[in-house]
Amino acid sequence: MSDTTKKPSGVMALANPTRFLSLSDALLPWLGGLAVLLLALGFYMAFTAPEDYQQGITVRIMYIHVPFAWLSMFCYTLMSISALGTLIWKHPLADVSLKSAAPIGATFTALALLTGSIWGKPMWGTWWVWDARLTSVFVLFLMYLGIIALTRALDDQSRAARAAAILTLVGFINIPIIKFSVEWWNTLHQPASVLRLDGPTIHPSMLWPLLVCALGFTLLFSTLHIMAMRTEIWRRRVTTMRKLSARKAEGAAS
């Protein structure tokens, strides 16, 4: 791990991932358990919640669609912060966080798209419309894939790390576009009714289950993310070991 990032040689580089591993070791079960509990509760509330008078049963999709949608944006924001960590503070964990978050983010975005379009069929009578909100989320999805593709294309690890960080930061402008697309363009998609400056406008009987689901999915996300980070760290350690042993063998050879 210490040689995955250039600058922070010595204690910080060595200590941090190790501490992270032990800490996450203790944390993971709790996180996971809590996530499952909350999700169970959330779904229960969701299905006992009153049906929307015009949307009927399909409104229940909201309780998974909205969390997915939020998390797809949350994940990218997290990655952008990690990117800053890589570029400015050169923190050894930042790159690990970014790299392992990308696939999860892509998945959540895909799910947001999927649930959204499933919801769209009854609501708008079509699976897909190219309106600003939908398309900007689609663009977000592409950006996730682009970042993944870039990290895979560059083999040198520290180089790939900084490249991905730069790309992530430049791509961040898409997040406000997604968020405000509903205000800026007249879209089919409905405007924000929870995350608003002037308080939520959605009825509490739907708000609470939604929030609980959202929290549950957020915990689920963090669980997955931490697990991915652990595997990534281990993967890097193994490669480092391989290099070391290879060099030993080479030393013996000559």
Binding site: W128, W130, T135, L142, A153
Partner: protein
């Protein structure tokens, strides 16, 4: 020969222009269109095939000009030329075209129906587009091969090359789109343009490699 094919595949994959990137690229192109023409679905359906074809053309152009240049720069081309007696040079060119097509165009053909769906092209149209792409795009690659061979042969004639080569791809495009449209909009024929498309591809599959080989041999 197979080894050459595999090498070029590996190279493309390594250089981040592998199948996955190709598909991604196509996705990106399609995603951009509605922002331009607006979300009007049946308009999208009408220009859908044309857009898919344009995307395919662009994808093949993007890598094409470098097809022989990289080999020329690192000296591989010399060895390929010298091995003429073992492997026919035209065949080598053909293989390289195939590799390029497989990596940067085939993925597009494969996912084109999906994207057509996005632009709600009717099902029969989807099949038609995919089919025309499958049959037509190789021609673009073969044409482009001649172009990139010429750029190697006369390094400073870049302008001239694109003037000579690119226009040749227009007929391919036109007949491809026409055929795809023929399958959807009833009055227009499908078979006639489609057959012409096949003819064009076969023609260039024969002429292209030989012309390119000729150009390469006179390189320098």
């Amino acid at each position: 020969m197979l080894s050459l094919y595999l090498r070029d595949l590996k190279l493309a994959a390594g250089a981040g222009s592998g199948a996955l990137t190709g598909a991604l690229f196509f996705l990106a192109v399609i995603a951009v269109i509605p922002f331009g023409v607006g979300p009007d679905l049946n308009l999208l359906a009408r220009i859908g095939p044309a857009i898919l074809w344009i995307g395919a053309l662009l994808a093949s152009l993007l890598g094409l000009d470098r097809m022989f240049q990289t080999d020329a720069e690192d000296g591989s081309l010399d060895l390929l030329l010298m091995s003429d007696s073992r492997h026919m040079l035209a065949l080598i060119v053909f293989i390289k075209c195939l590799a390029h097509w497989t990596t940067s165009v085939l993925p597009l053909v494969v996912i084109s129906p999906l994207l057509g769906l996005f632009m709600n092209v009717p099902p029969v149209g989807l099949m038609a587009v995919a089919l025309t792409l499958l049959v037509g795009t190789p021609a673009i690659t073969f044409i482009g091969a001649v172009g990139s061979a010429l750029t190697v042969a006369l390094p400073r004639g870049g302008l001239l090359v694109s003037v000579l080569i690119l226009p040749l791809t227009v007929p391919v495009l036109v007949f491809g789109v026409a055929a795809a449209r023929g399958a959807i909009a009833d009055p227009d024929p499908f078979v006639a343009p489609f057959l012409i498309l096949c003819a064009i591809t076969i023609f260039f599959a024969v002429i292209g490699p030989f012309a390119a080989a000729l150009a390469l041999r006179n390189a320098e």
